[in-house]
């Protein structure tokens, strides 16, 4: 199921932006002094006239993006997830979401795998605060293939978006070139009947690993890639809950308000089944290597396995 090849979603973003830049002169890219890390520097090198490094000024970057978009441009604005969400939240709220302008806020270094930079730079709350904003579409791609496809779709789709990418290389789940992802529709990445693991971002590959291991123990897990956090795919969540009778969510984010929160909202109103959330437990992270942090903060396949076992127990 999981291909051995790995790619950082931010690398897929940078590469796709350059392709888009060649196809459409209206694409403008903004960054806030992190262009080398977010990979927008690739676009900047190719199209210096359409690239603006706004300096260390995220609020101004978002406002400028809004002004460019109000003038008909398709604007990609990038920085780290902590800054693109938290630092500029009010600017996103009033200048971008309220105005429904065509600004794509594409952030990298989402979640705890930002690693060594430590807690100040690990965005574990961004999905929660961004999905609360009306008009904003929120995406968390699972791999490089999906990122490339969604960035292309974002350029064509009119309206504000928040797209969260990550720093480290992660396994490719989908074959390169696959592009038929539908925003708002989850993907059943693995069929199963005992329990459904709903995941987003790099946790989709962890969920698939967990499912593989559980299969050997006779537990048949369905794995769903819910890369669209908003609008959430209610229909699929309810269907999975009804068909498998138990749900586990897995995300590289706080268990408060993110994917787990969104799924819990849907289930509480439509299909009450045993549910468990795998995520960061209402705490700040720390410096460390991404893999070490995933283990220490409860985001490893073993944590998903434990959650699956707990919900299956509650099913009976």
């Amino acid at each position: 199921m999981i291909e051995k090849k790995t790619m950082a979603t931010r690398d897929a973003y940078g590469k796709t932006l350059v392709e888009l830049g060649k196809e459409n002169n209206d694409i403008i890219v903004l960054d806030a002094d992190l262009a080398v890390s977010t990979k927008t520097a690739l676009f900047g090198k190719e199209f210096p006239d359409r690239f603006f490094d706004m300096g260390i000024a995220e609020q101004d970057m978002i406002g400028t993006a809004a002004g460019l978009a109000a003038s008909g441009k398709i604007v990609f604005a990038s920085t780290f997830a902590v800054f693109g969400s938290g630092r500029a939240w009010d600017q996103v709220r009033v200048s971008v979401a309220y105005t429904r302008l065509n600004v794509k806020i594409v952030v990298t270094h989402g979640g705890i795998t930002t690693g060594e930079d430590g807690a100040s730079h690990q965005a574990n709350e961004d999905i929660a605060i961004m999905r609360a904003l009306p008009n904003l579409t929120v995406l968390v791609p699972a791999d490089g293939t999906q990122t490339a496809a969604l960035i292309r779709q974002a350029a064509k789709f009119y309206g504000p978006m928040y797209i969260r990418l990550s720093r480290p290389k992660t396994p490719l789940i989908y074959p390169e070139g696959k592009h038929d992802f539908k925003i708002g529709k989850g993907i059943v990445a693995r069929e199963g009947k005992d329990v459904t693991i709903l995941a987003c971002g790099m946790m989709v590959s962890k969920a698939l690993e967990a499912a593989e291991e559980l299969a050997q123990k006779g537990v048949d897990c369905r794995v769903v890639d819910l890369f669209t956090i908003k609008p959430i795919d209610k229909q699929l969540i309810v269907k999975c809950a009804e068909e498998t009778g138990a749900v586990v969510t897995a995300e590289e984010h706080s268990i408060i308000g993110g994917l787990g929160g969104a799924v819990a909202e849907v289930l509480a109103e439509n299909a009450c089944v045993p549910m468990a959330r795998v995520g960061i437990k209402d705490m700040f992270g720390e410096s460390g290597q991404p893999d070490e942090l995933l283990v220490k903060y409860g985001l490893a396949p073993i944590d998903i396995i434990a959650a699956v076992k707990s919900v299956i127990k509650r099913k009976k």
Binding site: D49, D60, G63, G67, S71, K73, Y98, T99
Partner: protein, 282 residues
């Protein structure tokens, strides 16, 4: 040189806008009359003298853009748009009512002629920069005007944006500061001084002009000096009086920052504004 009669017409227009501001905030029983009145002459000059715009074609690509960064001064902008013909003057009375397009703070999606939604202070100049950059990218000649409050200049984002405008040499951008010296909690000098205000803008790389924000000729002459080709963005610091045109609001500006006139006060204010008006025949 602008004709004296043209100036008088603009003065009449500004008085008309002031009457609308009083009437609409009174009808709404809420809103921000003080900072709307202080900006009335600037907005008049922009919409009835300076800017290229087409009320019957609000999306005209070559139009000049106006960003009302001090979004609470919505009434003065609504009054100007209505007088210019973007929508009926009668509609002004729906200000702040449920279902109305005349939101408490300007909303670009609900009303033609509004270029940017604002309300959370400090955000308009960045958006104006984006529009000015877009004009350059598209090789269009339109200019971008942005009106900020002086208290608003406490916001850090204003200064982030000020650096951006100067760095990109946006000489198609003219910013006004409605310098009425008051914010909700008191006098700016007492709350948190902006001084030396003009020097701050100069240090940020701007061409700085000063004008009497209630003298039509002074505003026009500043705008004439702010023309393109300077290689710098221009800020016009307009000295204004909060509540200008209504004696009791000028005397007690803090009472009318975010408080509408009562019907009795409305009557008094409108009478004063009418008294100031020139006789129709001249």
């Amino acid at each position: 040189m602008i004709l004296k009669t043209a100036i008088q017409e603009l003065e009449d227009r500004a008085r008309q806008l002031r009457q609308h501001i009083i009437a609409m905030t009174c009808a709404a029983a809420s809103g921000h009359p003080g900072g709307s009145l202080s900006a009335a002459d600037i907005v008049t000059v922009l919409y009835f003298h300076q800017m290229k715009h087409r009320p019957d074609d609000p999306g005209w690509a070559e139009r000049d853009r106006f960003v009302m960064s001090k979004g609470h001064a919505a009434p003065v902008l609504y009054a100007a748009l209505a007088e210019a013909g973007y929508f009926s003057v009668k509609y002004l009375k729906t200000l702040r009512r449920i279902g109305s397009s005349l939101q408490g703070h300007v909303d670009m999606l609900s009303l033609p002629g509004i270029e940017m939604s604002t309300g959370s202070l400090g955000q308009g100049l960045s958006a104006a920069n984006g529009m000015a950059l877009a004009a350059r990218l598209d090789k269009r000649n339109y200019r971008v005007y942005c009106l900020m409050g002086d208290g608003e200049c406490h916001e850090g984002q204003i200064w982030e944006a000020a650096m951006t405008s100067a760095h990109h040499k946006l000489d198609n951008l003219v910013a006004f500061v409605d310098h009425n010296k008051y914010q909700i909690d008191g006098q700016i000098d007492e709350i948190k001084s902006l001084r030396p205000f003009a020097d701050k803008w100069k240090a940020f790389g701007w061409k700085v002009l000063r004008c009497d924000g209630h003298d039509i000729s002074s505003i026009i002459s500043a705008l004439d000096k702010a023309c393109k080709g300077t290689g710098r963005p221009t800020v016009i610091i307009a000295d204004t009086v909060k509540g200008k045109g209504v004696s009791f609001m000028e005397e007690r500006p803090l009472d009318y920052h975010g408080k509408a006139p009562t019907p009795e006060e409305e009557k008094k204010a409108l009478a004063e504004l009418c008294q100031l008006a020139r006789p129709k025949e001249r």
